[in-house]
Amino acid sequence: MTPTSSTLAPRSRARVLLARLEGPQTMGRGPAFWGTAFLAVAAAAAYPLMADAWTVGNAAYFLIWTFMAMGLGVVWGYAGALSFGQTAFFGFAGYAYGVLTLNLGAAYGLTFVALALSVAFGGLFALVIGYFMFYGRIQGVFIGIVTLSVTLVLETFMAQTAGPQWRIGEARLNGFNGMSGMPPLTLPWFGGDILLYPGPSLYYLLLGLVVVCYLGLRIMLNSRFGNVLVAIRENPHRVGMLGYDVRLYQMLAFGIGGAFAALSGALYTAWGQYITPSSMGLTSAALPIVWVAVGGRRDITATLIGTLVVLAGFQSLTIYGSQYALVVMGTLLLLTVLAAPEGLVVGAMKLLGRVFQRSKR
């Protein structure tokens, strides 16, 4: 018999890890898929050369949300727990970034320290909520109800922090109007710090982060951990009877999803230098579910593509169609659930796969 990864040399172990970029839990494999993916990233990298700074900054805004969407994909699509409150971790981390940077300042790369700490706090917060939910045997739709309650309670709490007593060090929480004035991500550099305002520099940083997070999630989802998550989605009782602590796996998946939402939240605050309680409100909480469902919750690639497409469509509708944008989003969700429950991008990818296979024969 051949040895497993645990007995392999580091180089071989790295090869095993890279092999997990492809697997049963993620669509897309082979040179055609990776060639297309490379072209897509190359096109995205070339985009700032063809667009003005404002448009590039706006594209960076789209990229920010993909982290929360991919995290929700892990929690909902892979682990089978519909969280309606990822915005709680988004907002928590957004405020954490504001409080930390207003107190620490932007010198010496401290904004990146604040970013890392905000993500860690958001992930930890998700682990705590996840612990009480999953170890408290909350299941099914009740997970959605509890998580929605958490985000709405946070929104309500933050909205009443207008008084001067609501401050943490130098940072005023500012109630309904939210916090502002925090520094953007600031990169220490020879000859002067580089301030990453919305524009090409921030865009490239976010694009790199999206690529790293996407590939990292593919490896994780095709690992032993991912195998167990998908099995829990299908039949948690059987998974427990295979000796796995189902609650622990669900809690960890929820923590990872929370950390990804927190990454979006902290980056959002750094991008616009503001964060308000409405970022944790009902509308904000519902939108990630639309992005993920429309793209396809059970595949991380579909989630990523779907989120970018729906976000761009939503913004166009908001500009040209004003209030109707939300109605269209709701209709899109209903149509997806009724006509393509696996998601539109997954449906299209499967169709393309079939056409490709047929043409090969």
Partner: protein, 239 residues
């Protein structure tokens, strides 16, 4: 042989319904044992108590020398108890391979996952079905897949709740052969079963449960000849 399982004074009631009424039961390591009894006798409840899905009102369960009465289900599985349910508890939307991967991935001891899966596919006669979604296998194949998954956690004791339910006679016979092979590998087997021909094929000893209590225990011949067994099964007293 040493005892692998010892149950003493096990009692469980749901309101006024007593599903285990002070059960004393023991099983030798390496045994092939069947539990029989009419519907409602408490066989499945006894399994759930062994698996930790129900907490007993009284009594103790000792497995492999350790008290497991207070352990959670997954902890009991890690100690070496495994189960195959009456309704196949498989991951229907996943491929046969994925089902086996989840079961075997933490129990390889340096062996290759691919080789282990190939071996189990051969053992369960599921060669060629590796990438088939488990939900579209025939009922018998689903039962065999679940037996393979249950074996994946390296059990010392394998609990089988009606493993041949819904199987054809050929499939039933093949299942019996599989269980003999697993037993020869050192796995103790305790099965709930209604099909007496299958019980005869696999069991060295049989325990009859009735109203949550042990009614009698013996070899299959002793059980068949027992004057009270047919009475409790068929409700007649002319045996």
């Amino acid at each position: 042989m040493s005892e692998i399982l010892k149950v003493e004074g096990l009692r469980k009631a749901f309101g006024g319904v007593v599903v285990a009424n002070g059960i004393d039961f023991s099983l030798s390591a390496g045994a092939m044992h069947c539990l029989i009894g009419p519907n409602g006798a408490g066989k499945s409840s006894f399994f759930r108590l062994l698996l930790g899905e129900h907490a007993p009102d009284a009594g103790t369960i000792t497995f492999d020398g350790g008290d497991i009465t207070g352990l959670r289900s997954f902890q009991r599985i890690r100690r070496g108890i495994s189960v195959k349910f009456q309704v196949p508890g498989i991951f229907k939307a996943l491929s046969v391979r994925q089902n086996l991967e989840v079961a075997f991935q933490d129990h390889l001891h340096g062996h290759s996952l691919d080789a282990t899966i190939r071996e189990m596919l051969e053992f369960t006669d599921l060669q060629g079905e590796e990438m088939t979604p488990a939900g579209i296998l025939s009922h018998g194949q689903q039962q065999w897949l679940e037996i393979a998954m249950a074996v994946g956690v390296e059990p010392k004791l394998l609990l089988l709740d009606e493993p041949t339910a819904g199987m054809s006679p050929d499939e039933t016979h093949k299942t019996g052969e599989m269980l003999h092979e697993l037993n020869a590998r050192g796995i103790t087997i305790l099965a709930v079963e209604h099909d007496m021909a299958f019980v005869e094929q696999i069991a060295e000893r049989v325990t009859v449960l009735h109203f949550g209590s042990i009614f009698t225990e013996g070899t299959i011949a002793e059980i068949i000849d027992h004057p009270g067994v047919q009475e409790i099964y068929l409700g007649t007293s002319d045996v």
